[in-house]
Symmetry: C2
Subunit: 691 residues, 2 copies
């Protein structure tokens, strides 16, 4: 999917006659700052950012380690991001009588800004190519040893670069699926405080029905502030808001940290996603969704317990369904086939390429055939064991820590290596809110689905069920496990013998399936993960040799820049969708019933802002989850919007970008400033953003 | 898929080396009795049924109008079928203290046999080709008029054949999707009584985990008796049980009424099923499944209310997932493509065929593109309106009957034509058990999913939600609708004005969306149903011209005969699966926890039958839902088994048959006789079956 527009079958055929101009534009790509396609953008739009523009934006681009992006918007370290990026913080800070999630949060003075527990932010300072070093190290042993040799070299590079400096973060990142390795050094901030968040219902007006849709009326914004040594961090050249907002057709840029795309997968890997993995995920999560929705009808407390998990699942479901939808479009997949054919043709035509790479596409097809056999036991017994249950997850950490501890480092599961034991201990000892109704639901669901997928006669299934039903087992664990008690966890952590032999029902269950779970993991790692990394590195090399280096790597939560224009789209189902919503539109859409009810401070507020104030808008930028909280910049480098979502067509963005249909959805700077001043009375913050 | 073996990708590749012999056998086909492939079967197995054998079997083959098959097994009209085919009856006959579903039913004497309410049985007596007559009538008008002209002619043929005789049933059946029309005349029996049914847990041991799986230990049998004028009906030559059971490798035959297959769909139609329809159904039903499972955790009463619906959905889900699984196997679909290519090649080579049929494949592709746009509104607003809610369903019948009644017949919705009004009235006035918890769940689910699929801005969605949440609307209807009251329904039925204007909340809701629902139905009928029938008739004609008449039609709940052998299979995941389970195997598999708990009369019964008594077995017969209750016959025409399920690979059987993997699952006659005598003490019935 390399800088080539593709069309989405019927959808695009309908749209093609109307916006033919877009086909040539193809605002595709999540570009690294050091290989931004300046010439191409200049050719398309008559202007492109220069090195100075790029450096300034890079220095103000924030990565929130929880999985979001943001921008430094004042000299005093104020950071703008999305509300949904700080909801963990508002929930954690809430107490009876102070529900910052429902009611919002506003620090009237700096001293009222509160630390977001566990929040961490990073700003990229430098990148260094270490490809040769990593590849040379990996090549020093056999193919089977390569993953370990590679990991060891990477750990050395990272350690040498950071030298234990807690104010730095040093990551060797893998770009182009093994094509390049680069050392990224970040400034690291672990004192992140909240300054402002609107009410949940203002940020997420329209809830799941509106998620990934447009028209939209969401103020999905929040303000954090970076601190060091108890004082706000100073920035010389922050990005500033332009309260005028964008105009249709404006050239705009979105810097940020897109989390993950899979545009460089081979056809065989994509077919596995399309035909096996995604349908399985949708089926699994849909059933869990139904259970959670119904659990919420039991009462207010149950609804509260399941709410976050449910929203996360609903969001994932839209993405997975969109991804599958893109892959089953014949014209979409045809582009993927043609791309791969180009590489295969080159391989067939050039003996030197064959000598260098062999036939990685056939290798990958064989790996995928193995993956089809081993992915369900691996998922059900290992990676998704417990379906989210905190009790079972912690029980497994405690049980495994106890068994791994006595082994030499080389024989341990990597996450229990001696260097990582402290992190494991920290995580397992952290206060986890165990929600009994949610736990019971998740444990029973996981037991039943494991039996469904692996079969009632599978040895591990027989062992974990024994003579009880899933409901009985789940009820027993929730009623009788002591894992929720920090003192108990501490005792088991410091007493391996006790942890291994405990008759706590959660420990007993994970112990029962531990051998089978390790076997399933081993099978997946040796048959899928390991061989895939080898084949993918070959495909990446071949891609560079055939297509050159003027391409962008798959997203991996490292800093990228996307370009595009403010534009609506012609929807195959809904017809023309205009790029802006206005303040006035909200009032006709608010029914009063969740999720179309207004947040408290908005009720009766129809006169508080001019009717034509821009609310949300769409643009052609190529973004994906992880870009949440990214600023939208105009040519002058001023912030005119805040990206928080994509439209429904963007959910297929993991596999490719359709310039006719994929759209980024952002809050306009008009609304950000207008709401801060006229709805929340947060004038000082509004001024700090702008001036 | 015409008498050609195909293989299922990886699965079949693994299996191929072991059972190559099967590839040549290809026991495929649900053959009509008048075109059974005698020569082919004789060639394969050295023996084939003659006309006399076929006639005898036909005369004892019972169709249960609820959707099952059965066999007359005694001169006194005893009929053997599956337990799951009579569970509606055991539930309906139960009362506090007499739970025939849980405890089973056994009429110690004839006089204790109880009428199954609403049950009806038919036995095919004659078939007559009426293809010319139907096609000539349909050709008398324009293409748009053809469906109505066809329907009118069919109604005339049926009426003339039955002349109002209640002891007959006369159906013009469409075979080969418009290739042939035949008049089927049946003997009709509407006094069907229950003689024996085991406990639900004996019939369905293993529940959903074991459904469509093997090894299996289910006694899924029941005995009914046909009555006329209060006396058992006499049959001269019933089928009789051979208590010896089958041996591995035995040639066996399954007569019965397979419900529906789609093996003659074009590639475009299959791709729609694979990529759109089936994934949508799985997603929709999975969420509903999750909700129902969770509802059952609220309490015993809720569990009871949702149980039947949940089991039905779980069964459907396995089928839909299996169907999708078959269609995404590249080698499976390749066979479909090759078959269609053969027809397309003939079309390209022969101008006379082109003149006769045009290009029906391209026509169908265009229809499918339209279907993709209109199937969701059609399903959500019309065919699946209410997601099973009895209140909303009845409310719509009452509201529509009131509006349709005043129109001339030609303008009415067909189901409200004057000839059908009596049936509508009967259905809406029948006592329907309204289950409040289930109703609430279904109504809220349907509202939310309709908003999800059609969008929050869809006019009908806005109208049906108004200013309330789905939960509020559902709670209002369940609390305040009077639809559950038969007197209220009667008043509305006889007072159209009142029905149209009623402010009953169920009536109000269906009225709110009625215009949109009718429009969605109209769009689907004119863009999909109508044009599909025209194109399918052309494909059928082309198929006959190119492939000859030596083929079998898609299943449509008419009498068919399948041949095969008693055989296990080599499973790609589980390895070799032997064709028999034995009585002794049950005891190691019974954990005591639902669904692996034993029925009451089986507890401690390990010594009641010889350990090696055959329990269930598999054979290569090609069957599908509707065949439930079919006898399995040996060459002598003796019953050696009772078909009740397929293995997991058979769930793709809707689209094709894989001789290596598809298997029919049956109860052995050894177990039927053994259990009747030694576990249930029903010696008289056992003797009646055998002697």
């Amino acid at each position: 999917m390399i800088r080539k527009p593709f069309v989405l079958g019927v959808a695009a055929l309908l749209a093609a006659s109307v916006v033919v101009a877009s086909v040539a534009m193809a605002d595709e790509g999540m570009w690294t700052f050091d290989s931004f396609p300046t010439a191409k953008v200049k050719q398309l739009y008559g202007w492109a950012p220069d090195a100075k523009w790029l450096e300034r934006v890079r220095k103000a681009s924030v990565r929130l380690e929880g999985g979001c992006s943001g921008a430094v918007v004042s000299k005093d370290g104020l950071v703008m991001t999305n509300h949904h990026c700080v909801s963990d913080c508002t929930v954690a800070l809430s107490s009876p009588g102070n529900d910052y999630a429902d009611d919002g949060f506003y620090a009237f003075a700096r001293k009222d800004e509160k630390i977001c527990p566990g929040f961490e932010a990073s700003i990229l300072q430098s990148t260094t190519d270490v490809t040769e070093r990593v590849k040379t190290a990996a090549a020093k042993g056999t193919v089977a040893e390569a993953p370990t040799l590679r990991a060891t070299e990477i750990a050395t590079i990272e350690r040498d670069a950071c030298k234990g400096d807690e104010r730095k973060r040093c990551d060797v990142v893998n770009l182009f699926r093994g094509g390049q390795y680069k050392l990224y050094v970040y400034d690291r901030f672990d004192d992140v405080r909240i300054a402002f968040a609107p009410e949940q219902q203002a940020a997420a007006f329209g809830g799941d029905p509106d998620n990934f849709n447009f028209p939209r009326y969401a103020l999905d914004m929040a303000l954090l502030r970076l601190y060091r040594d108890g004082k706000p961090v100073t920035f010389a050249d922050p990005l500033k808001l332009d309260p005028a907002g964008p105009k249709a057709g404006d050239l705009v840029f979105v810097p940020g940290h897109p989390g993950s795309t899979e545009r460089l997968l081979t056809n065989a890997q994509l077919a596995f996603q399309r035909d096996q993995f995604l349908p399985w995920r949708v089926e699994y999560l849909s059933q869990l969704r139904g259970a959670l929705v119904n659990e919420g009808t039991k009462g207010e407390e149950e609804a509260r317990q399941v709410s976050d998990t449910l929203h996360g699942i609903e969001n994932s479901l839209k993405v997975f369904k969109g991804q599958r939808g893109a892959l089953v479009e014949p014209s979409f997949f045809a582009v993927k086939v043609a791309e791969e054919q180009k590489l295969k043709d080159a391989l067939a035509a050039k003996p030197d390429l064959r000598a260098k790479y062999g036939d990685p596409f056939t290798d990958m097809a064989g790996i995928v055939a193995a993956q089809q056999r081993v992915y369900l036991p691996y998922n059900m017994l290992e990676t998704r064991m417990g379906a989210g249950s905190v009790l079972l997850f912690d029980a497994r950490v405690l049980y495994r820590a106890a068994t791994e501890r006595s082994k030499p480092d080389a024989d341990r599961l990597p996450e229990f290596g001696s260097a990582r034991m402290k992190a494991r201990e920290g995580a397992v000892m952290a206060e986890a809110a165990v929600q009994p109704a949610l736990e019971k639901l998740e444990i029973a669901f996981w037991l039943d689905k494991t039996r469904e997928y692996l079969g009632a006669d599978h040895e591990a299934v027989r062992a974990m069920f024994g003579t009880r039903t899933s409901q009985e087992i789940a009820a027993d664990i929730v009623a009788n496990s002591q894992i929720a008690d920090a003192g108990f966890r501490k005792r088991l952590w410091s007493n391996p013998e006790q942890a291994r032999g405990s008759n706590d029902p959660a420990i007993a269950l994970v112990r029962t399936i531990d051998v089978a779970a390790r076997a399933a993991r081993k099978a997946y790692e040796t048959q899928v993960t390991g061989p895939t990394s080898v084949a993918a590195e070959k495909v990446a090399g071949l891609r560079f040799d055939v297509l050159g280096h003027d391409i962008y790597p798959d997203a991996n939560f490292t800093l990228r820049l996307s370009y595009g224009v403010v534009q609506g789209w012609d929807d195959p189902v809904h017809g023309r969708v205009e790029p802006f919503t206005k303040f006035s539109g909200l009032w006709g859409r608010a029914t009063g019933a969740y999720p179309f009810n207004l947040a408290r401070r908005w009720v009766g507020g129809e006169g508080k802002l001019p009717a034509d104030t821009q609310f949300d808008f769409t643009s052609t930028n190529d973004v994906v989850g992880g870009n949440s909280g990214s600023p939208v910049l105009n040519k002058e480098g001023r912030i005119i919007g805040l990206a928080f979502d994509g439209n429904i067509h963007s959910t297929g963005g993991s596999y490719g970008f359709d310039p006719l249909l994929n759209r980024t959805v952002s809050v306009s700077s008009q609304m950000i400033v207008g709401a801060l001043k006229n709805i929340y009375g947060a004038n000082a913050l509004a001024d700090e953003l702008v001036k």
